[in-house]
């Protein structure tokens, strides 16, 4: 049985942990607010761009743009977005596991990984997948630039038929409580499922299809990346906030238990001492 002093120390240490977790929760909540605001403002644009591209994608063929070329193959590149820091529940682990499983099911043994965020790198370092690039020292604000540079390279290689597919893997930010691990096929660009049947009507392109579609598609992909990046940022804070919230609650629970135990032990010790004194007095 631990001594009273040991229990007391334990209580102090749990209290300190609780202070840390609750502070982290506050910080994440504040950061989340800002990130969520940004993502909310970015959504309409992304949605519109999506509608524009999807309303066109039905009218386009691989001949118009190589990025629409859809073929089977195992040359897969992945852009994975994770966070740098842990203590955010299953945020990174779930995503990495989903990706590993999906790649395995598709029979891709060695995908080319471009990883943003330390946690993703740590996970995939132990696998067969080949990490083409990671950026452990980059600050989150630099991630976007990095990702765009990577994207340029991948798009060019896809167009040159050196890659068969490019996945974008990230946590989609649904709400504070849900972040959904998402694997999105970035390339080839597939007609979106929710495309409404637009009545066949002739559409005028200016200057013309070839010149227009290239930059438009490029912008579309970049925007997808941007949205994914915002989602990852907001999701990380949301996940950490939730995780830290439950950690704070658990610590509170633990302190309660320990206090109870402490008081019981104290009482037991006092009772024991009293009995000793009384029996000592009686024996005289």
């Amino acid at each position: 049985m631990p001594s009273l002093k040991e229990i007391r120390n334990r209580i102090t240490s749990v209290k300190k942990t609780q202070k840390t977790t609750s502070a982290m929760k506050m910080v994440s909540a504040a950061k989340l607010n800002r990130a969520e605001d940004t993502i909310r403002r970015a959504r309409p644009y992304a949605a519109k761009l999506r509608t524009v591209v999807s309303s066109l994608s039905g009218k386009l063929t691989p001949d118009d743009n190589p990025l629409f070329r859809d073929q089977d193959g195992k040359r897969v590149a992945v852009v994975l977005m994770t966070s740098d820091r842990g203590l955010c529940g299953g945020f990174n682990a779930n995503l990495c596991k989903l990706l590993a499983r999906t790649l395995h099911e598709e029979g891709v043994d060695s995908a080319e990984m471009h990883i943003v965020g330390r946690k993703g790198r740590d996970f995939f370092r132990r696998t067969n997948h080949q990490i083409a690039a990671d950026y452990p020292d980059a600050r989150p604000e630099q991630h976007l630039d990095i990702v765009f540079t990577v994207l340029d390279g991948l798009t060019a290689r896809f167009a040159a038929e050196e890659l068969d597919r490019v996945y974008l893997v990230f946590n989609e930010y649904k709400s504070i409580l849900t972040q959904e691990p998402t694997i999105q096929t970035l390339l080839p660009i597939r007609p979106l499922e929710d495309t409404e049947e637009v009545e066949e009507q002739e559409v005028l392109f200016e200057p013309d299809v070839e010149e227009l579609i290239g930059p438009l598609v490029q912008q579309y992909i970049q925007n997808q990346m941007y949205t994914a990046w915002l989602g990852t940022l907001a999701g990380e804070h949301a996940a950490r906030m939730t995780a830290m919230d439950s950690a704070t609650k658990n610590a509170g629970e633990m302190i309660k238990q320990l206090n109870l135990y402490y008081n019981r032990s104290r009482q037991a010790a006092i009772t024991k001492e009293l009995i000793e004194i009384i029996s000592g007095a009686e024996s005289l």
């Binding site: 644009y45 200016e206 438009l216």
Partner: protein, 147 residues
């Protein structure tokens, strides 16, 4: 008569959502007037001035880098940057123009030296960024002159 639904969006915000009678887009092949019942169009936009009429009142926006889609009396403008003519600070825009022009000049005079491909790529990107800044400054100036 029918009205047009005009929307102007940037990655950061919805700038404008309004009904309009007539929209003039800075299309890549020249200005493009859109009236209700226009046939579907997708066009690239040049940096420049977008204007729209509500009744007799004409309003102006500076826009840069994007697309416009006209479909079913709905004009959707997706641009990298946009600002209302009233919001534009001409002094800032002029200063931006000068800065960008200065930077571009420096880059051009420097880049004649033999550089590696990578350096070249970096330079090219930087130049493109300054060029965008320059165009944006000019677009803002011409929009604010209109008001």
């Amino acid at each position: 008569m029918d009205k047009l639904q005009l929307e102007v969006l940037t990655p950061g915000r919805i700038l404008l959502e309004t009904e309009a009678d007539h929209v003039v887009l800075p299309g890549s092949m020249g200005e493009m007037g859109i009236l209700p019942q226009h046939i579907p169009v997708v066009t690239m936009l040049n940096g420049g001035v977008l204007s729209y009429f509500v009744g007799q009142k004409q309003s102006y926006l500076a826009v840069q880098g994007g697309y416009a889609q006209v479909d079913n009396n709905r004009v959707t403008v997706l641009v990298e940057r946009a600002a209302f003519a009233e919001e534009i600070d001409v002094v800032v825009a002029e200063q931006d123009e000068k800065d960008a022009a200065e930077h571009l000049k420096q880059l051009l005079s420097k880049s004649s030296s033999r550089a590696t491909e990578e350096e070249y790529e970096v330079e090219r990107k930087r130049a493109a960024a300054y060029e965008a800044q320059l165009l944006w400054a000019i677009a803002r100036q011409s929009a604010s002159q209109q008001k």
